[in-house]
């Protein structure tokens, strides 16, 4: 194509275009200007840092451990004397504050890892079922329907009874039970998107099915997946507490927000602060995740002008 050389020569004097602003860098730029999302991220970040730093915090600030009991001061109301009782003490006189941060380790780990597991399974199976349709779709749909026809809690109990409960097994169990929702969602979106003309255009150009799934379909559902994931992390933290309530989750004395909450519900009249603090942590975490998911969705949409 000799014309190409000519055209190139003619335009040789033209300056270079500005550096490529990728999807992620643009998104980050927009996120930084979204105050609400940034606040939510800061709060969640603080909760995560406090949880990870729980051992250090317990030793240096509260001067106690999560197991240390003080049987003379059970059900103590929140006080600064000693500093470990800033959120009160529980039925055997342990520091509620220290247990809360230790519990965060378990709850957040289970929440995020299980969400990650179900997201990986869900997106992969959803894309494959929605894009290829046919027999693959039938098998996956059949599997989902079967799994969905068994009550979730029942399934969780079966799994939890089969495997010794520990944060790791609990994560895998929850991930393995909750993936159906994401799969259904991704499958439905893929169904709709694969009929769009830009997908036909990609096929015309010669793109492979995997390329179409990952480069054309996935980016168009990703923002919605973020929101769903944020909601799911919350659901998982709550599911973990439900399991703990039945004695199938995290086994005491290892604290988790879930088992602290269920445990405290028996003493609601005597020590309401024992219910309030883990409840507030779950509530804050879930709220922050919702806000972040929502902010990410907006930031990742190139059609929305930056405010």
């Amino acid at each position: 194509m000799a014309v190409r050389a000519q055209v190139a020569a003619r335009a040789a004097g033209a300056p270079e275009p500005r550096a490529s602003a990728g999807l992620w860098s643009t998104a980050w730029y927009r996120l930084r200007r979204d105050r609400l999302t940034m606040i939510a991220a800061a709060v969640l970040g603080t909760i995560i840092v406090l949880s990870i730093g729980a051992p250090v915090l317990a030793e240096l600030v509260f001067r106690t451990t999560f197991e240390k009991q003080d049987l003379l001061r059970t059900y103590a109301a929140p006080t600064l004397d000693p500093p470990g009782f800033v959120f009160g003490s529980d039925e055997v006189g342990r520091s509620q504050a220290v247990r809360l941060f230790y519990g965060g380790q378990v709850s957040l780990f289970v929440g995020f890892m299980a969400a990650f597991i179900q997201l990986t399974i869900g997106v992969l199976l959803g894309l494959v079922a929605g894009y290829f349709r046919g027999a693959i779709d039938d098998v996956i749909t059949w599997f989902i329907t079967t799994l969905n026809s068994i009550p979730t809690l029942f399934l969780l109990i079966i799994f939890a009874a089969l495997f010794a409960p520990s944060p790791i097994t609990l994560t895998i169990i929850i991930g393995a039970v909750f993936w159906t929702g994401i799969t259904n969602f991704v499958r439905g979106q893929t169904f709709a998107l694969r009929e769009r003309e830009f997908v036909t255009a990609a096929r015309t150009v010669g793109a492979t099915p995997w390329r179409i799934m990952l480069r054309h379909i996935l980016p168009n559902i990703l923002p919605l997946i973020f929101v769903l994931t944020a909601i799911d992390v919350g659901t998982i933290i709550l599911a973990e507490s439900a399991l703990s309530y039945l004695g199938l989750g995290i086994v005491p004395p290892t604290p988790s927000w879930g088992n602290m909450l269920t445990n405290a519900s028996s003493y609601f009249n005597r020590a309401p602060w024992l219910v309030v603090s883990p409840g507030a942590m779950i509530f804050l975490t879930v709220l922050c995740l919702y806000l972040i998911g929502d902010g990410l969705r907006d930031a990742l949409d190139p059609r929305l002008k930056s405010r």
Binding site: A11, A202, T204, V205, G206, R215
Partner: protein, 349 residues
């Protein structure tokens, strides 16, 4: 000329068919007895086929290298389906699509994918055919990546050059489709099709979604590109004056069949098939004196359903010339004059 032909013998049949599709040796594309049926199914678990939409029901034509073949017809007659079946975006039910000696319907997935370098498509809706989450640079660069034609800096340069070729600013690579107007978006779509340096482009109503003022620009661009890159077009449209302007030859489709195919001048001056005549009579003439005398042939009734097309000639339910034979025998697609094919028992004025 209006002689009723008896059903042809096998020998005759072959002869007629071969003249309809073979043409001269410089054919880039030959479509033979192409059928595209979409099954209609019933039942939830055990689906059974209860019928089929016969979107394209046995068409024959060829496209010569370097020419533009216009394909016209009303909406729903199978024009776009034909284009997509040629590009194997739909798997044709029957028939053959031979591109430069290669039978496309028999190619495997990977072979066809490689073949797509040579056949491209420009889409009707410039709003739907560009991924809203990809930058223009990525959209135009994708064919280059997919076929390993260019990488990194070379790719960026090639994309910029393509933008220039279609008359857009090469700085636009980092913008998203929604930042452009319809005409500009269509130019992006054209640049994407050109990226692989194809030989054949199906233009699927490339200007129908654009403003009239922009239509001319895009048409001129397409003509300019054809001269420059020696492109062959299959130009699908329902705007007869645009087709007349851009095409070398024109095919008229009705309900999944090509009813007439001729050189542009022949078709517009002396249409043989009643449907073509009716269609052409609907084109306004930009001269008040002549326009006031224009006689329109108003067809009665609607286009029958492609699920259950009429027997014999598909046009007989709306044709003012229809006789007994028309509802019984499907007329053959015959070369009535040199390079002028029509499927009608009573062709001509």
């Amino acid at each position: 000329m209006a002689v009723t032909t008896p059903p042809p013998s096998d020998a005759e049949f072959t002869r007629v068919r071969s003249t309809a599709t073979a043409g001269s040796g410089k054919n880039l594309l030959e479509v033979k007895a192409l059928k595209m049926h979409f099954p209609l199914t019933q039942g939830i678990i055990f689906q059974r086929q209860v019928g089929a939409v016969r979107a394209v029901d046995g068409i024959d034509f060829f496209v010569e290298k370097g020419e533009t073949l216009g394909l016209v017809g009303e909406s729903g007659c199978g024009k776009s389906t034909t284009g997509r079946a040629i590009l194997q975006l739909y798997k044709p039910t029957a028939g053959a699509v031979v591109f430069d000696g290669v039978e496309l319907t028999k190619l495997g997935g990977e072979q066809m994918r490689k073949m797509r370098r040579r056949l491209q498509m420009i889409f009707q809706d410039p709003y739907a055919s560009l991924n809203p989450r990809m930058t223009v640079g990525n959209i135009i660069g994708e064919p280059l990546e997919v076929h390993n034609l260019a990488k990194g800096h070379e790719k960026t340069e090639r994309v910029q050059e393509l933008l220039r070729v279609v008359g857009l600013n090469p700085y636009f690579t980092n913008r998203y489709p929604h930042e452009f107007s319809g005409g500009q978006r269509q130019r992006i779509g054209i640049a994407r099709a050109l990226a692989v340096e194809p030989e054949f482009i199906v233009c699927d109503e490339p200007i129908s979604a654009l403003d009239v003022s922009i239509q001319a620009q895009v048409i001129n661009l397409l003509e300019e590109l054809q001269d420059r890159f020696k492109l062959t077009y299959l130009f699908i449209a329902h705007d007869l004056s645009v087709v007349r302007h851009i095409s070398d030859r024109v095919a008229v489709m009705y309900l999944g069949k090509i009813v007439e195919l001729a050189d542009r001048v022949d078709l517009y001056e002396r249409p043989l098939h009643p449907y073509s005549q009716a269609l052409l009579s609907a084109v306004p003439i930009p001269d008040p004196a002549v326009e006031s005398k224009r006689k329109r042939i108003i067809l009665t009734g609607d286009v029958p359903s492609p699920v259950n097309p009429p027997s014999g000639c598909r046009f007989h339910t709306r044709c003012w010339k229809a006789q007994q034979i028309c509802s019984e025998v499907d007329p053959e697609f015959i070369e009535h004059e040199p390079r002028h094919w029509a499927a009608c028992h009573f062709p001509g004025a």
